[in-house]
């Protein structure tokens, strides 16, 4: 069983006993339904009360599959003062940031305005989430950095939000989700990449989303376990679209991060893209280089859920193929499939690679190196 009940969070002897880590995927939550109201105009309070948020996914609220655990989160992550998992800064510090020696934590809010069909409301909620990240989290704990969430289906509004936050050191990336109305390389999303490159901010693409399309190219699966597996297929279509629509040809300094969708599939997708490009490049003359080169130059991957082969040397092969300098450690706190920092790497990894994996790649990518 994957449920563990503990009276108290696991205690460790000293916070300094553990390697300093960057956790590039932490999910902050709201303690109450009205926690965003101070950041939203009164008209939106009334609108939400009357009409609620309606995503492209259709007449539903919340995730399309039961999450195996309440809020997809650890049972031991409920804050003592109440509220859902991930909604208390002090408990996050006590349970995760301090004992795991997290020196950089990147916040990825998931329940935002992304995917709302009413684009004005989407933009207002996203902007409110960005203010909320500063007020509740990043201004209170300098280890935490925010993600600029944007109205993803409204390119100009999204670009405006990025430009508004461009110089704000509370944020280290722009955040998108993998499931949108169209694959992310398409034109409606181009203003987002233009503004992000201009601001010098990487764009993260987190698994999940509300775009209304089935998760898989062959329709809606029946079970949550299929959704968890399917995030990797979905992310592959996103990455192929970004490359083949020429996003990186137009934005040579843009960096993107594939979040929570695995990285074990990266080598085989890269090889397949290169092989197809060799034969079909006349169809996409704007893609001037082999896809593998764009991937090597532009793409980073967060590690959780860590690839977990039966034989650990197979993991070392895959990391060699992806690149030790391209991986960003992440735990997914407070979600149930949390990766324990001390247990993800096989033995025999060099000190330099360990440090890159756990911390230095993230500091460099996010421009936080000393």
């Amino acid at each position: 069983m994957n449920i563990q009940f503990r009276e108290h969070p696991e205690q460790v002897a000293s916070i300094h006993a553990k390697t300093a880590i960057a956790d590039c995927d932490i999910h902050p939550a709201r303690a109450t339904r009205t926690e965003l109201h101070p950041y939203l105009a009164t008209r939106w309070h009334e609108h939400l009360e009357t009409y609620d948020k309606r995503p492209y996914h259709g007449m539903m609220d919340g995730p399309p599959y039961p999450k195996a655990q309440p809020n997809a989160a650890r049972r031991d992550a409920y804050p003592p003062e109440g509220g859902p998992q991930g909604s208390s800064l002090s408990f996050m510090q006590q349970q995760h940031l301090d004992p795991n020696n997290v020196v950089l934590g990147v916040l990825n809010p998931l329940a935002t305005g992304q995917g709302i069909r009413n684009h004005e409301l989407a933009a207002a909620v996203c902007s409110a989430i960005n203010d909320w990240q500063i007020d509740k989290w990043t201004s209170k704990d300098s280890r935490l950095k925010g993600s600029i969430v944007v109205a993803n289906e409204d390119g100009p509004a999204a670009a405006a939000e990025i430009r508004k936050r461009a110089g704000d050191a509370n944020f280290v990336q722009v955040l998108l989700l993998s499931r949108n109305v169209e694959p992310l390389g398409q034109r409606r999303y181009w203003p987002i990449y233009e503004a992000a490159e201009e601001a010098g901010l990487p764009v993260g693409v987190h698994a999940f989303g509300f775009g209304g399309n089935p998760l898989t190219p062959s329709g809606w699966p029946s079970f949550y376990i299929e959704e968890m597996v399917g995030h990797s297929q979905c992310q592959q279509t996103v990455l192929a679209s970004l490359i083949l629509e020429g996003v990186f040809e137009r934005h040579p300094t843009l960096k993107m991060i594939m979040i929570e969708a695995g990285f074990g599939w990266a080598p085989s997708l890269t090889w397949r893209l290169d092989k197809s490009w060799q034969r079909l490049k006349s169809e996409v003359p704007h893609v001037k280089r082999p896809p593998s080169e764009y991937i090597r130059d532009h793409i980073f991957w967060t590690t959780q859920p860590m690839e977990d082969p039966e034989r650990r040397d197979h993991l070392s092969d895959v990391i060699e193929w992806v690149g030790w300098d391209r991986l960003l450690f992440a735990t997914d706190y407070p979600h149930w499939d949390f990766d324990e920092p001390t247990r993800v790497l096989p033995p025999g990894v060099s000190e330099a690679n360990r440090e890159a994996f756990y911390l230095n790649n993230a500091l460099k990518l996010y421009g936080l190196s000393e």
Binding site: V229, G262, G264, S268, W271, K275, H314, D317, D337
Partner: protein
């Protein structure tokens, strides 16, 4: 060549949330090894034999791939349909033994022909 990492992921989540699908009473890895076979072409691997053989090692079975060419489609690899660097034993598995083991009627037909 997407198969090994796909199975790692499927296996990991099966361990975590198999209570959702209790009728799946064996590891997905085992089900694939006993019940599923894969045609070889187009092979998503670089041309260096070392990497190719690491990938076959990741599959942890030499019984899964079946030789195929996709003739006459444009992806057809011509004379290079079999990637370089496979051991003679693996070539035999992929081109002869695995297809016979998969398509039972072929084996029976071959035996009948030998006997007649």
């Amino acid at each position: 060549m997407w198969l090994p990492s796909y199975l790692w992921r499927l296996h990991k989540f099966w361990r975590g949330i198999r209570m959702e699908t209790p009728w799946v009473d064996r590891a997905p890895l085992e089900i694939v090894r006993s019940n599923i076979r894969f045609s070889l072409q187009p092979i998503d691997a670089p041309s260096d034999p070392q990497t190719l053989n690491r990938l076959f090692d990741h599959m942890q079975s030499d019984e899964l791939p079946l030789f195929s060419t996709d003739y006459p489609h444009w992806q057809f690899d011509g004379d290079a349909a079999l990637p370089e660097g496979m051991s003679p034993a693996l070539v035999r598995k992929v081109m002869i033994d695995n297809p016979y083991a998969t398509y039972g009627r072929l084996k029976q037909a071959a035996i009948r022909e030998t006997m007649s």
